[in-house]
């Protein structure tokens, strides 16, 4: 039993099921990120944890106590909203103290708690201001402060950084991570930004279409996506997915890929790969851009670097790297080359593919093979 | 243990029911005092009620009589003329004034108050002033004559065919400022960047308003329509104060007709029949509107 248990929870509006049976157990001190495109059910799940929406079937428990029918206020949770939801008519201190006031905490204690949290977040100088007088970043801090001051069992974050500009977003991301490490609080965090998910979380639940597609640590999710959706959604630029055919020769599996020029390239799978049992099968091969490099940039530790000669269609210099786009199996494939590689569109160029990082999917079920 | 569970269940019930409880007095009031009364009136329209409600049923007799009455036909025609002119002129004038007032006008607040204040006055108050002003003997025409413009003629209020238009003039005077305020609010709510983009695209001021601004005022138009329609239908004081329904019956409106049959002529049954027809016409216009508005907002 976890600290926060989501057990067979579902949510329906009339006949429309927006969240299918979901099971997640969150341990104390864990940072769980719910990530997915809009409409995937992640916010619904968060609202269900908060008690803002009822659970249709199933159960959500915090510290072993079922929360069904318990008011949001009585769940000992705090939430940071996308719009921050600061009460416009109250100043910062009043905003932060409101929840404590509602729970009957005497004023001296409230003031003390507010002062402490304000100090922690470095917003002490803002306490007398109204939300309207604050910058976006400041509002964000106040919203977090309002959650922190409650000292809840679980923090809920609903896309808290999406209204900030890029620079501030990165800063706040770091800050939230530091705060989590320092306070060791339990957090459920909703975002559609996979980088946020990967950087912040201890575990990620990738959601799509009302289903949890995969639940795992950031590394598991990134390296071993459970299906093509997770593979494509997590990582930027996203994983290359292109059709191939498995051929087994002498017990070793090879992926055969059609090239634009009419030829066929062969990429042997890494040793011990389960593909050997799939002779002749059509698959979708998934290889992340950083596993397709120029030959000198290939991972030296890898034992399965293979070369494909393919025509370069576009090059996209990005400062630290150059992304090189080619075509494999009829799909665009992006490789991540060192910045100083001399390559231009139209060249036929050797690509080094690290087959240790390759994954294969069933084209029909889109699930991972092997 | 059982008791705490019960209390909690009770609390939960109260908590869930609270919003409905809060809404229920208003709902009950409206159900009884609007819809109950509508049903009551509908029922009365089939009775032989005269001075007070009575409950002898007479079938469709009241409706048959109603449609034989010349004044009712006039009242309906007048409502169509008055209602459409009133709504159209108020909207056009309100929009024009709002646009003019939206050009960084000095003393905007002052002018706005002048345009708005008629809404604050009832026609019991301003009726006499208007009656004087429109009266050819002492009003505008007399003043023009005394200034030496002898051929000036403005005798609409005494003219059977034109009197209804004087009603429109006074009604527009009362409400157009309010409509102006609604449009002004709408104009102020339009995103600046869209306008800038249109200007960069080379739109003239005229095109800017016609193609970009006015289409965005649709919600304001809709709100104005509701307010104006409800005022047109309820117009009563205005008629009584200005013309008393005259000359003859030339400015009779359904509201004055209904009042006169229900209360002055002691033919409550016919009054109720006219009220029923009036309500059905209102419903025919308003229900689709309200329905579409609410559906959109969902």
């Amino acid at each position: 039993m976890g600290f926060l248990d989501i057990r067979n929870a579902t949510k329906s509006y009339g006949a429309v099921k927006v969240l299918h049976e979901t099971n997640i157990a969150v341990e104390e001190g864990e940072f769980l990120v719910l990530v997915g495109p809009s409409g995937c059910g992640k916010s619904t799940l968060l609202n269900m944890i908060a008690g803002l929406e009822e659970v249709t079937t199933g159960d959500i428990a915090i510290k072993g106590r079922s929360m069904n029918g318990v008011r949001p206020a009585d769940r000992n949770i705090a939430m940071v909203f996308q719009s921050y939801a600061l009460y416009p008519n109250m100043n910062v201190a009043q905003n932060m103290a409101f929840g404590l006031e509602m729970h009957g905490i005497p004023k001296p204690e409230r003031d003390k708690a507010v002062a402490g949290v304000a100090d922690l977040l470095q917003i002490s100088h803002l306490l007398d201001r109204k939300p309207g007088q604050l910058s976006g970043g400041q509002r964000q801090r106040v919203a977090m402060g309002r959650a922190l001051v409650r000292d809840p069992d679980v923090f809920l974050f609903d896309e808290p950084l999406s209204n900030l500009d890029a620079k501030l977003r990165v800063d706040m991301r770091t800050e939230i991570k530091k705060l989590h490490q320092k306070l060791g609080t339990t957090i459920v965090y909703v975002t559609h930004d996979q980088i946020e998910a990967l950087t912040l979380s201890t575990r990620i639940a990738v959601m799509f279409g009302g289903h949890v597609q995969q639940l795992g640590t950031p590394k598991e999710i990134y390296d071993n996506p459970a299906n093509m959706f997770v593979a494509g959604f997590m990582g930027s630029p996203s994983m290359n997915l292109f059709p191939a055919k498995v051929a087994v020769k002498d017990g070793a599996a090879v992926a055969r890929i059609d090239l634009v020029d009419g030829g066929v390239a062969s990429l042997p799978f890494a040793a011990g790969n389960a593909m050997a049992t799939h002779d002749g099968r059509d698959i979708i091969l998934g290889i992340r851009p950083e596993a397709i490099t120029d030959e000198d940039g290939a991972d030296r530790k890898s034992k399965a670097i293979h070369r494909i000669d393919a025509r370069v269609e576009v090059t996209e210099p990005a400062g630290s790297d150059t992304f090189v786009v080619s075509n494999l199996g009829g799909k665009e494939v992006t490789g991540r080359f060192r910045a100083d590689v001399d390559v231009k569109a139209g060249d036929v160029f050797p690509f080094a593919v690290n087959m240790e990082k390759a994954v294969a999917f069933d084209p029909k079920t889109e699930q991972r093979l092997g | 243990m059982a008791t705490t569970a019960n209390t909690r269940a009770g609390n939960d019930w109260l908590r869930n029911a609270l919003p409905k409880l809060v809404l229920s007095p208003s709902f009950a009031m409206v159900v009884i005092f609007v819809y109950g009364f509508i049903l009551f009136t509908f029922y009365l329209s089939f009775t032989d009620s005269r001075i007070l409600p009575s409950y002898g049923l007479v079938g469709w007799e009241n409706y048959a009589k109603l449609f034989k009455l010349r004044a009712w036909g006039i009242a309906i025609d007048n409502l169509l003329i008055f209602g459409s002119l009133y709504i159209i002129i108020c909207c056009l004038l309100g929009l024009a004034l709002a646009i003019l007032l939206d050009q960084k006008i000095r003393a905007e607040g002052f002018i706005r108050t002048i345009y708005l204040y008629p809404m604050a006055l009832s026609f019991i108050v301003t009726g006499t002033a208007w009656k004087w002003f429109l009266d050819p003997g002492i009003g505008l025409q007399a003043v023009m004559h005394s200034w030496g413009w002898e051929s000036f003629a403005f005798e609409w209020i005494k003219d059977r065919d034109m009197a209804i238009y004087t009603i429109v003039i006074a009604a527009v005077w009362q409400t157009s400022g309010f409509v102006m305020a609604m449009f002004l609010a709408g104009l102020r709510g339009i995103d600046n960047e869209v306008l800038k983009a249109a200007q960069i695209d080379g739109a003239s001021n005229w095109a800017l308003y016609r193609r970009i601004v006015i289409p965005q005022l649709r919600p304001a138009f809709m709100s104005a329509f509701v307010v104006l329609a409800h005022m047109a239908i309820k117009s009563y004081d205005l008629i009584i104060a200005l013309t008393g329904g005259g000359p003859g019956t030339a400015t009779e409106l359904p509201a004055t007709f209904m009042y006169s049959y229900t209360f002055t002529r002691n033919q409550m049954g016919i009054g109720a029949a006219s009220a029923t027809i009036m309500l059905m016409s209102i419903a025919a216009i308003m229900v689709p509107y309200i329905w579409s508005e609410l559906r959109e907002k969902k």
């Binding site: 908060a50 206020a73 996308q82 | 009031m29 609007v34 006008i105 309820k234």
Partner: protein
């Protein structure tokens, strides 16, 4: 005001501005004319009015008509002027407007933030209620007031105005609260605030602009109402409009037009005052909600 005005974008030349100001001035005349007639004639002796020339300024200025209308004009058997009725109107208008506004706000709050199955229909029913002609409800309403024991009382009048004003109050607040961020309500729920606490601490403090619109609307309508005021009041609760009507509509005898006009302006002063004082919040309030889709 931090709002966008299209005027910041649209540029007009000097000639155009002259035309604009001229047009605006002409319309000022149109709107002010009846008021001018009333004011000018309320300051003339009756003989000057009878001699004609309603547009001209008084040759002899006098405030006697005002004094008469306020304190000595014949309203009924007693020559009390409008003074005592003024109080009756205030006693009726203030609670009616206050309750109507608060109830409208609560309704709007429920209809936008605590939605439940069928709430749209209820709102539709409330809204359509605005369109019922008042002449129609007179008799059944009288009977209901009698049954409730409110006939001929100020609470009865307040109740009637409440019933037929609630539709518009609710409409205004609902449209306004619809744009009020629901996340704020949710945040307050998580903070532990209940239904009424959220309303009082979160919603109401932000409702200023729309409250102004609602109050102006209700105040104007209720203050100016004659039909209900005459029908549902008693000898000691007749409102100002009934008294004014008695002053102006007397059947025989010399019509003291100057006193009538003075009385008319007097009766209109409270509403005028409300418009002048609250007028600048009015457009802001309309903008904040009621005219947006």
């Amino acid at each position: 005001m931090a709002t966008n005005a299209s005027s910041q974008v649209v540029r007009t030349g000097a000639g155009a501005r002259f035309v604009i100001y001229t047009l605006l001035a002409i319309f000022c005349l149109y709107y002010l004319l009846p008021l001018y007639v009333m004011v000018v004639n309320s300051l003339k002796p009756l003989s000057e009015i009878q001699a004609g020339g309603m547009m001209s300024l008084p040759r002899e200025w006098t405030v006697a008509p005002w004094q008469s209308a306020w304190a000595t004009a014949q309203i009924g058997v007693a020559a009390t002027g409008l003074k005592p009725y003024f109080v009756n109107s205030i006693l009726m208008v203030v609670p009616a407007v206050a309750i109507s506004t608060v109830l409208g706000a609560l309704n709007g709050y429920v209809l936008t933030k605590w939605r439940f199955r069928g709430d749209t229909i209820i709102f539709g029913l409330l809204l359509f209620g605005c369109f019922i002609p008042f002449q129609m409800v007179l008799i059944p309403m009288a009977r209901m007031l009698g049954l409730m024991g409110l006939a001929g009382t100020v609470p009865g009048l307040v109740f009637v105005h409440l019933v037929y004003g609630i539709g518009f109050s609710t409409l205004y607040f609902r449209n306004y609260y619809q744009q009020f961020p629901t996340e704020l309500v949710r945040a307050a729920m998580i903070d532990g605030a209940g239904f009424f606490t959220i309303f009082r601490r979160i919603m109401l403090p932000s409702s200023g602009p729309i409250a102004v619109v609602c109050i102006i609307w209700q105040f104007t309508n209720i203050w100016n109402d004659f039909l209900f005021g005459a029908s549902f009041s008693d000898f000691d609760s007749q409102p100002m409009t009934v008294a004014l009507n008695n002053l102006v509509q007397s059947s025989t005898g010399v019509k003291e037009y100057n006193v009538h006009f003075a009385g008319a302006i007097m009766a209109a002063l409270p509403t005028l005052l409300v418009y002048i004082v609250a007028g600048r919040y009015f457009v802001r309030g309309l903008m904040a909600g009621s005219v947006k889709g």
